[in-house]
């Protein structure tokens, strides 16, 4: 995905615009650029690299101008090169455009434009837009009409922003599926892919719907519907996120900051209105079948949810990875789909949800970003309220979703009559202990986990084992390790080990084992059995275990002791400890923590 931004005001905005794409960098960061209208035509500066690199090379902040658009790119069509970097210009340089998403019919458009003599400088799908603008403007002699004509020629999912030399007091933008919002400030108005684009300058926003376009001037905005060009009434919303929350402050990385914000994220998840949760639980209880849907981290969260529903209600609610959903699922009107996505823009999850919706399924979603595409498709939306998650690697958003799924499982069990309300309240009471216990663990165990991570940062392969609900914990912990440190880690159920993988185990093999609290005797004994199997083959075992354990045996080579806590909360503590282990391994290996190679914050392509 990419980040787009635009600012129009009464003063020079180039510094603000640079800052804006810096705040959007997590959406894509292989190249970036800006186009400003400084009264003497449109000037464009762009290059490959992180925003700060490009600023050093090109001096974006010194461009000058009262209106401009900017882009930070995550390559989909065309390689990472200066030519392919946005903004793109028309032949005469009278239109400049930035774009997020995919224009699916760009080849045909490009060929016909080329035949008419338009010269293309890049390999991108985006570049057809300014050339179409130029062509349409020639015949229609009106920027707005040309813009609408252009929109009607484009197919695909996209959000675009455009400036021209013909109307120096306005920015045009449009949304078709890909996210786009407006920000209304005192001295200037803003366009952005999300709130981070302008949260430093204003907290008043307007969310565009798909198919709408907007004309934004320094002190006003008009939203119209792109088919009929009819004006649309839009309500403004207030963003409650604190500016400071979008900043790193004294933390070395957003990842650590967001790990530390988990207690608050849990408090916020516990604060989600019970009615919202009950509504979904009851819809699920009425359905013949419910699927839990996510991809990447959210799939592991869904898998955690599957165990939760089974533990609490005894019901089987399959979790499916969104990208495989259409290959597997049986969907009809008696189906409910519960989809998880931090951004609400995840391509695979969106297409799975559309597939289910077309077949009449009820859609419930848990998302962190207001006004996201996923929530627009949903019958029921839970806003998890975790605040912006900037690090590409998800920590607090995932933990918050786990809390919401646990609450949902309890409500669902209530609705199906499997537990009573006081049992449900007991589960919630247990969850309420989490924030304080996690905070304490962060303050008392970080140093020890740091030391261990540095000691074992040279290990190239890890096996992460867990049984029962600790199996998704193992999967998610292994994914954290892979994502942030580029170290191979394989999550596996403890019982699965002896069916094949065990052949690999020798003194050179390293395993992390998530040991359940001893009170969970059956699972505990089985897990210890897995450890015995590894130790018998001289493998190395790092155990994540709880205080209450009597550790008079020497099965573990290393251990991370966690504060003892109720069974509902135990998986959370292990996951947080594993997040720290992955984080410190990555810092020992000097990885690019907040923006690991090849990863984007939300994957909006197939």
């Amino acid at each position: 995905m990419c980040g787009i931004s635009g600012i129009i005001g009464s003063k020079n905005i180039s510094g603000q615009l640079l800052n804006s794409i810096r705040n959007l960098e997590y959406r894509g960061y292989d190249s970036c650029g800006m186009a400003l209208n400084n009264g003497k035509g449109i000037s464009v500066k762009k290059n490959v690299g992180f925003v700060d690199d490009v600023e050093r090379k090109e001096g974006l902040s010194r461009m000058g101008g009262k209106m401009g658009i900017a882009h930070t790119r995550w390559a989909t069509h065309g390689s990472v090169s200066q030519a392919n970097t946005h903004p793109h210009l028309s032949c005469r340089g009278d239109f400049a455009c930035v774009h997020n998403g995919i224009i699916s019919n760009y080849r045909a458009l490009r060929e016909s434009l080329q035949k008419e003599g338009h010269k293309f400088l890049s390999e991108t799908d985006t570049e057809v837009i300014p050339h179409l603008m130029e062509k349409n403007f020639e015949s229609l002699k009106d920027v707005e009409k040309a813009f609408v004509a252009t929109l009607r020629q484009l197919e695909g999912t996209f959000a675009i922003a455009m400036i021209s030399i013909y109307e120096q007091d306005r920015i045009y933008c449009a949304k078709f599926e890909s996210p786009l919002i407006l920000g209304l400030g005192k001295d200037a108005n803003y366009i952005g892919s999300d709130f981070n684009a302008f949260i430093e300058y204003t907290k008043t926003a307007v969310i565009l719907d798909s198919g709408e376009y907007a004309i934004v001037t320094g002190d006003s905005f008009t939203v119209k519907e792109s088919l009929g060009m009819e004006p649309v009434e839009k309500e403004t919303i207030n963003i409650s996120w604190d500016v400071e929350m979008s900043k790193k402050g004294g933390y070395p990385h957003y990842m650590l900051k967001e790990i530390y914000e988990q207690p608050q994220a849990i408090v916020n998840a516990m604060g989600v209105d019970r009615e919202k949760i009950r509504e979904i639980a009851e819809a699920m209880a009425r359905s013949e079948r419910t699927y839990l849907l996510g991809v990447g981290t959210t799939f592991y969260v869904a898998k955690y949810g599957q165990y939760c529903f089974s533990d609490i209600s005894g019901c089987f609610l399959p979790s499916i990875s969104s990208d495989e959903f259409t290959n597997l699922a049986e969907v009809d009107e008696k189906t409910t789909v519960l989809a998880l996505s931090q951004s609400g823009e995840t391509y695979d999850t969106l297409s799975a949800v559309r597939f289910a919706k077309e077949r009449g399924a009820k859609i419930a979603v848990v998302v962190n970003v207001i006004g996201s595409s996923l929530s627009r498709l949903a019958d029921y939306t839970v806003l998890q309220g975790s605040g912006p998650e900037i690090c590409v690697i998800s920590t607090k958003a995932a933990v918050s979703q786990m809390v919401i799924l646990t609450r949902l499982a309890a409500e669902f069990a209530c609705a199906r009559g499997k537990i009573n309300e006081s049992q449900r309240d007991e589960i919630e009471k247990n969850l309420l202990q989490l924030p304080e216990t996690i905070q304490r663990m962060l303050n008392e165990k970080s140093g020890f986990i740091h030391t261990l991570a540095h000691k074992y940062s040279h290990i190239k392969n890890w096996l992460y084992l867990g049984r029962g609900i600790y199996y998704p914990v193992a999967l998610e912990s292994a994914l954290k390790m892979k994502e942030v440190s580029y170290v191979h880690a394989e999550g596996m159920p403890g019982g699965f080990l002896k069916h094949g993988t065990i052949a690999m185990i020798d003194s050179e093999h390293y395993a992390v084992v998530f040991v359940p609290p001893k009170e969970d005797k059956k699972l505990f004994d089985l897990t210890m059995g897995s450890i015995e199997e590894i130790k018998a083959r001289k493998g190395f075992v790092l155990g994540f275990y709880f205080n209450s354990l009597d550790m008079n045996n020497d099965l573990f080579d290393e251990r991370i002791t966690l504060p003892s806590i109720n069974a509902v909360s135990a998986p959370f503590l292990q996951l947080v400890a594993a997040q720290l282990f992955a984080y410190f391994t990555a810092t020992a290996l000097k990885r690019n923590i907040d923006k690991p190679r090849s990863l984007a914050k939300s994957v909006t392509v197939a």
Partner: protein, 401 residues
């Protein structure tokens, strides 16, 4: 912003070197510890530096003087009683600072890779209120441990906690404090711990998490660790144009060789390594990585130096091996001297620090040789030995006997 560096303490555990110099005058990677601090402050635009001196203060003042040679301005504050503690030291510098302004406070024995000061300034830029740098260390029991809340406020400080509280972030010894801190300190009876705890209790102290390398030089072997920390950052070789390489000298990796150095043929230098000005390196010498030969030293024929820090003006006689060791100034090591640099049966080496015998945790460790020591020819020095300043050892012994 002005800075205040505390360099008055005795640092008596860094045997035998602090009996003849204050701790910040120890040389690491070819420079004084204090010099590294001043240089990194300079890099982030802080060039109004106040240094509290006490123990052996003339060594600091004579070397750094007004700071001109180091691109900064230095003012000295003399602490009357160097044993009175750091709170007292900070108080005595009060007149050097301006009411209403913030200043940076630095413990003089702390060393970090990269620029910990810039990082702390960045955190200050966001919070615009008091900041303490914090970091993780394998030995938190030696330092003030902090508890953080998610908004990066320090909520609690526990000095040298018990084992069950281990594993916290510790204070790195770099702070940005308001002028009003002086009155907080005064009310706390000049106890730094109490004053910082009071600020934390009122939610007035922000943390800045330092993820880079960090060492508090508390024991002599910390000099070796600190030296490695800094040299690992080196990326290029800098050889002064006056250096005379007399044929067939092999230089690998990042090295710094200063003016007037002469190196004879057959010598191999494996960087990272440092050779200070006007030193003489004889024929067929092997200088292995993490070695720093201080200025005006003489290394004889066929000597091997490995992970060895020499402060300067010392001589190592022919065919000696000095490994994993720290050598003070003016030391004369006779020919054929061997340091034994590993513990028995693969165990880590122990070292005597005053009355205590401490396990250093290092599998490889040689000797700590004080200033002006004379070692006769043909000696063997046992691993972990401390030789006090001014001691003379006759020829042909195994020391300590």
């Amino acid at each position: 912003m002005k800075a205040l560096i505390l360099a008055a303490g005795e640092g008596r555990d860094v045997v035998p070197f602090t009996s003849t110099r204050p701790k910040p005058m120890i040389r690491i990677a070819g420079r004084y510890l204090l010099e590294h601090t001043i240089q990194k402050l300079n890099e982030c635009g802080i060039n109004d530096v106040n240094i509290v001196v006490g123990h052996m203060q003339n060594k600091v003042i004579d070397t750094f003087q007004g700071g001109g040679d180091f691109g900064t301005n230095i003012h000295y504050v003399r602490q009357q009683d160097a044993r009175a503690g750091i709170g007292q030291a900070v108080s005595e510098a009060k007149d050097r600072f301006i009411p209403g302004e913030y200043f940076m406070l630095i413990y003089g024995d702390v060393l970090a890779s990269q620029n910990i000061f810039r990082h702390t300034l960045q955190a200050f830029g966001v919070s615009r209120s008091a900041v303490a740098s914090v970091n993780l260390t394998p030995s938190p029991e030696m330092f003030g441990n902090v508890y953080l809340d998610p908004r990066m406020k320090i909520t609690r400080i526990i000095e040298k906690p018990l084992k069950e509280h281990r594993g916290n972030y510790v204070l790195s010894g770099v702070f940005i404090l308001p002028y009003s801190f002086f009155s907080v300190l005064e009310e706390a009876g000049n106890s730094m711990e109490l004053a910082l705890s009071q600020m934390a209790g009122k939610n007035q102290l922000n943390a800045s998490i330092w993820e880079g390398g960090w060492i508090d030089v508390a024991y002599p072997w910390d000099i070796l660790n600190a030296n490695q920390l800094l040299m690992n950052e080196w990326e290029k070789a800098v050889i002064d144009k006056t250096v005379a390489l007399k044929g067939n000298v092999t230089i690998e990796g990042p090295v710094i060789i200063e003016e007037g150095v002469e190196i004879r043929s057959g010598t191999i230098i494996q960087g990272p390594a440092f050779i200070g000005r006007n030193s003489f390196i004889g024929n067929n010498v092997l200088i292995r990585n993490f070695t720093a030969v201080g200025p005006e030293s003489t290394i004889g024929y066929g000597v091997e130096l490995k992970n060895c820090i020499m402060f300067g003006r010392s001589t190592v006689g022919r065919l000696s091996f000095i490994g994993d060791s720290v050598i003070g100034t003016g030391v004369d090591i006779g020919s054929g001297t061997m340091t034994i640099n590993r513990g028995e049966l693969g165990k880590s080496v122990k070292t005597r620090v005053h009355e205590a015998v401490i396990d250093t945790g290092l599998k490889k460790l040689g000797a700590f040789v004080g200033d002006d020591v004379i070692i006769g020819a043909g000696n063997t020095i046992i691993a972990g030995t401390v030789i006090n300043a001014g001691v003379s050892i006759p020829h042909n012994h195994s020391y300590p006997m």
